[in-house]
Each structure stands twice: as structure tokens, then as C-alpha cells.
Symmetry: C2
């Protein structure tokens, strides 16, 4: 941990969201289990959710590989993957409203226990914002429902690129009116921090070892030379003097 | 006032900021008068501030007329205008830091007396965001200092266009994931509302008859068929049932 980690040079903290701020897996499984019971639909919801998340990286790669098709926001990618997966998981009886409800499940994700209190503390000292592959509407609706006290919502969508493309990290610094080293990326994913660090941003790692449930294979701990490693958002606030 | 004004169809309110949410003229005159006294600089601060604001529309027109130069954010336009005006007003002894301080005066603007309380009420029922020609950093810093409780910061900068260009209003609805008629533009300026209404957005007028001080020539009252006309933000909250 470098001496610069809590230096006043850092003015803004930008946060990865899925997995770092919110617990997408438990949230979606609980949401669909309850909703499915009410709708009389039985399914392997955990399997569907895991497969849906597994489709996330490949779906963004398709956007990267085909710039001629234009940028597709994450809500659109989620919907496309879902349509394929409900067939694969043999979930029948879903109408268009049901698919819309499920896709909007990503707007209803619940925060980890320390997220709101930690962010509230960090907000007293820093500009805090999202920097997520989620689209602006998704992040805005999520914040509203979960009580996440962002100063601003920054999204890959604003740059028509997905992380870890450089345009997202540098675009965030530009919109904040800051140099990259005045912005700290906070994430539970080492690869996100690596991309940010390579572009000059400061970095903070917060492990979320249950993010993928029994499927978690990596990111149990920091594996880079990050500026800060904290146990949760309240520990991060303490380490940054807020 | 149409029956649809407080219909649940409206999900988000987006606000013009300069003049509508904050009192730029009194704020800047007070800021520079106090700062100038401390720095030993005497000047016609009111005259400078009025001339600076008068340069606002023409400076955005230049951006519109010269797309080949690329989009210039409002902080940059403010700085360019200021450099010309300090010469015109024969204000001497300003160094680069002074010019930066003055330009950032637009980040330090103070809200009207009803702005924070009204926005806080509106936030309980609607997504509330800026939709200003101010750049993202300006709006973010302003909100932080003034306690403006935005759910998100939307700016002309995100669309590389200035209001009243259509890209700004339609871009805001797109990022919010809403149809134009689900978004209400709130402004103290009839021309802003006219542009929004022509594109299908809902409209709310809140007069700020002292915005331009003794120079105010228009916008004393609503002069279009706006969905809502309110006396201030708390009245707007009451009329929208929040």
C-alpha cells in the first residue's frame, strides 16, 4: 500500500457495481424464486442466473468485435442472453412482460451489507460515482431502490465502450474534470483494477469472495499492487480518512 | 395545465440549472466581491458577471457553427470569455490561478431558497437529474457544495451538443430508458421548455424573475402551454403529488 493512497490528490472514487457494490447472484436468485412461485413457474433459477452472468463477458465481446452494429447497452445484452437461456433451461410460459421483468431484475439488485454505510462515509470526503458496464438507467434505478448515495452515475454506456476498454476509465476522468491519478477505481475484480492502474488511475480492492457463490474461482484476494486493499466499504472509508 | 401533468406516466424530472436551480448572478457577484477585496482587486464585478453571462449564448453558437473544432465544454467556453472580458473591463493583476478560481465560480453557485427542499420532496417520487449546458464536473461539484440531491447528473456535454439542440433532450430520455413523454423538463426559461415540448417531453415552468437582476427582460411568466406552472420547487412538488 503506497503512501499516496489517502493523499488529497484523489478527489473522486468510482466504483465497479456488479459484485463490488451489489450482490447480483443472491439478489436475482431470491427475486426469481419468489416471483416464479407467484407465477407458478418452476425452474433452476440459480442455474439460470449463473448462466446469465456467464454470458456477460461474451456478449460484451460481441459488441467490441462488431462496432459496425453500434453500441448495445447492457439491458439489451441481458435481454438477448435471457431469450436464449430460457429456451436452454426449458423455462416455458414466459410472455414479453415476464422477460422484461426478469431483465429489469438487474435494476433491483441488493447492496452488500456494508455498501450504503460505507458509501455514505466516503461521500463526505470524495465525489463518489459508479463506473460500471451497467447502462445509465439500470444504475440510476438500482441506486434509487437500494439507497446508494452516488454523486453521479457514470457508465460504460456514456463512452459507447465496455470495461476494460480504456475509453471508459479515461472518459470518466475527463468528465470529472480530473487527471487519472486523481480518480480511484474501487472494485472486487483484479482485472478491472489492472486496466485502471495501467491508465494512471489509483486503485482500491475490496474482496467479495461470495459473489459467484460456489462457482467463485478468483478474486478471493488482491493480486496486484493496488493503492488500497480494504475488507469492506467501511474499512475503505477508514483507510481513506473519511 | 393538462390532466396529464401529475399522471404516473412521468417517471423522471430533468432540470435546467443556471437560473432555474441556482442564482448564478447574485452568487458570482458576491463571490468575486469578497474574493476581490481579499486580493486587493477592485472591479465592476456586477458588470463583468452580466457581460460573462451575455457571452454564454454566442459562445455556444460558435460550437454549433464549427463542429470541425470539436465540442468544447462549458468550463472552456467560460474561460475563453473571461479572458476577453477581464481585458475589456480593465481588470489587471490576475494570474492563471485567479482566472481558474473565477471560472470555477460557476461550480460554486448557490441554490434559490426553495431548491434543496423542493428537490428533496420531488426525489421521493421521481428520478431527478440535471439537464444543463454546464459540464458534468461543474454540475457535480455544484451539487456537492450546494447539497443538491440529484439522482444523476445529465449534461449537454454527454451528447456533445448544447441545448436547445434536440440531441440533448432526446439523449436524456434515451439514457433514462424512458420515452420522451415520461420525462418532464423543468426550467425558468420558456425557450428551453419549447424545445423540450416540441420533442415530446412534458414541461414545468418555475419563474425566477430576479435571475438577471435589473437586466431581466423575459421569462417573468409562462408564455407557452406548459404541463405545469409552479411558483417554486416546493409548489412544483405539491402539484406533482410529492
Amino acid at each position: 500500500m503506497s503512501a499516496s493512497s489517502d493523499s488529497p490528490v484523489v478527489k473522486a472514487l468510482v466504483f465497479d457495481v456488479f459484485g463490488t457494490v451489489v450482490d447480483w447472484r443472491s439478489s436475482l436468485i431470491a427475486d426469481f424464486t419468489q416471483w416464479g412461485a407467484g407465477r407458478g413457474i418452476e425452474a433452476d433459477w440459480a442455474g439460470l442466473v449463473d448462466a446469465w452472468r456467464a454470458a456477460y463477458m461474451p456478449s460484451m465481446d460481441e459488441v467490441r468485435k462488431h462496432p459496425e452494429r453500434g453500441y448495445l447497452a447492457l439491458d439489451t445484452l441481458h435481454r438477448q442472453s435471457l431469450e436464449r437461456l430460457v429456451t436452454q433451461f426449458a423455462i416455458t410460459g414466459l410472455n414479453d412482460d415476464d422477460l422484461a421483468y426478469m431483465t429489469l431484475g438487474w435494476h433491483r439488485l441488493k447492496p452488500w451489507a456494508d455498501s450504503v454505510s460505507g458509501l455514505t462515509r466516503l461521500k463526505t470526503k470524495f465525489v463518489i460515482g459508479t463506473l460500471s458496464n451497467g447502462n445509465v438507467a439500470l444504475l440510476t434505478n438500482m441506486a434509487k431502490q437500494a439507497g446508494l448515495p452516488w454523486d453521479l452515475v457514470l457508465s460504460a454506456e456514456l463512452f459507447a465502450h465496455y470495461k476494460p476498454d480504456r475509453e471508459v476509465y479515461l472518459g470518466a476522468a475527463r468528465l470529472l474534470g480530473l487527471a487519472p491519478e486523481q480518480v480511484m477505481m474501487v472494485a472486487a475484480h483484479n482485472n478491472d483494477l489492472k486496466a485502471a492502474q495501467d491508465l494512471g488511475l489509483k486503485t482500491a480492492f475490496v474482496p467479495r469472495p461470495t459473489e459467484y457463490g460456489p462457482l467463485q474461482k478468483k478474486d478471493f484476494k488482491a493480486d496486484g499492487n493496488w493503492d488500497v486493499v480494504a475488507t469492506d466499504f467501511n474499512d475503505l472509508a477508514a483507510r481513506l480518512g473519511s
